[in-house]
Symmetry: C2
Subunit: 227 residues, 2 copies
């Protein structure tokens, strides 16, 4: 029993250090006037494809920047490079022990390579993972989740922490619904069970469905932050 | 720099304790004559649906048991209950701090509820996560991964540790290939780049494609373990 108590205390210490750095990041964002979104999902839910669509759509009207988090590779940053916006890739392996999430310290390192004063909205694309990223604040103004319908209806119930912490859920890959044994209404009921009434956009990054609504949401958040 | 060194030492200590418990689990499996598979994937890749198909297929020829790992809920165990095989659910939250993976200690707790002597093959369905489960041995004889084609071609490169540690990769949801912008050949090249020549089965748990081949693989592993 004593061991369990000591473990809890250590975890609390780690979270407090992270929270302190998250607060410092947040102050940096405020000074620069940059609105920051922490974008989270399972691996392969479509975060990067959504960002490709988004960058194409808002070009000229909103200055986006991206901080890409991955365990390894710069594949996602490479995909987005053609849009000519500020992008930095943070790999958790090897520099940060191969961690399965971004934390405030990793984001702090990434920020040194970003011209925040030229960025209206910074999207932090977290490591693909439905558990750990939700446990670490990085200084974001809001959290957005991507949940692909191909993952099944039960995910909000099985990974409630992340679904509960999201302000907006992008329900992606809806173009595949006709080919799946997945009941969208049941997914939405499960979503409401853990985060009642949370904003959601039905989306297909492949066909473009929902991208306009999502970009409008981005613009609205940006305006709110600026006032 | 000193702080980084001390962090590394702590992590090594944790892994060693886990390895010791994994070895103890392995000895328990050997005594009972049970062959044990650690089944890993992203959330929603199809592990439980594959198990449903598998249990229906091997009924009467192979005595399967399942240890279900999830952060929360008993949804997966509930889905498999109708097959009447021994199943135990291990939730990492709250008892184990909401961890994003199973470790040897959690499996050790789960085993107390399983009649191993009546189980030929035990499948440990790990928490849906492409990073952390690969870092923790639980005493398994082999690791099998499920990777759904809906997750995209780049996952072996982005999450190499898990793909590298698998002896067999079940490439699931191939029935959806016609509706995706995913190049299967490219996925397989990426797989070979991190784990050259690893065994793989193209599968659709939805249509049943690949299930027979997978069940044959299970039978072969079982025979090998028994000799």
């Amino acid at each position: 029993m004593e061991r369990a108590v000591s473990k809890t205390l250590v975890a609390e210490g780690v979270l407090s250090a992270n929270d302190a750095l998250a607060q410092a990041n947040r102050e940096t964002f405020e000074r620069a006037g940059t609105y920051v979104i922490n974008l989270m999902s399972s691996p392969g839910a479509g975060k990067t494809t959504i960002l490709e669509r988004t960058l194409a759509r808002v070009a000229g009207t909103l200055r986006l920047g991206v901080l890409e988090g991955d365990v390894q590779t710069t594949l996602d940053a490479d995909r987005l490079a053609r849009f000519g916006v500020p992008i930095v890739q943070v790999n958790t392996d090897p520099g940060f022990g191969g961690e399965c999430h971004l934390d405030a310290n990793m984001v702090r390192y990434g920020l040194t390579a970003l011209p925040l004063e030229d960025i209206d909205v910074l999207v932090i694309e977290n490591v693909g993972n439905l558990v750990c990223p939700a446990e670490f604040k990085v200084g974001e103004h809001s959290r957005v989740m991507v949940s692909a319908v191909t993952e099944g209806e039960d995910k909000p119930l099985k990974y409630p922490l992340m679904f509960r912490s999201a302000e907006l859920v992008l329900v992606n890959k809806v173009d595949l619904l006709a080919h799946l044994d997945v009941d969208l209404a049941r997914f939405l009921r499960n979503l409401d069970a853990v985060n009642p009434g949370v904003a959601r956009i039905l989306m297909s990054a492949r066909t473009g469905q929902g991208i306009e609504e999502w970009c409008s949401w981005l613009m609205t958040q940006r305006s709110r932050a600026a006032t």
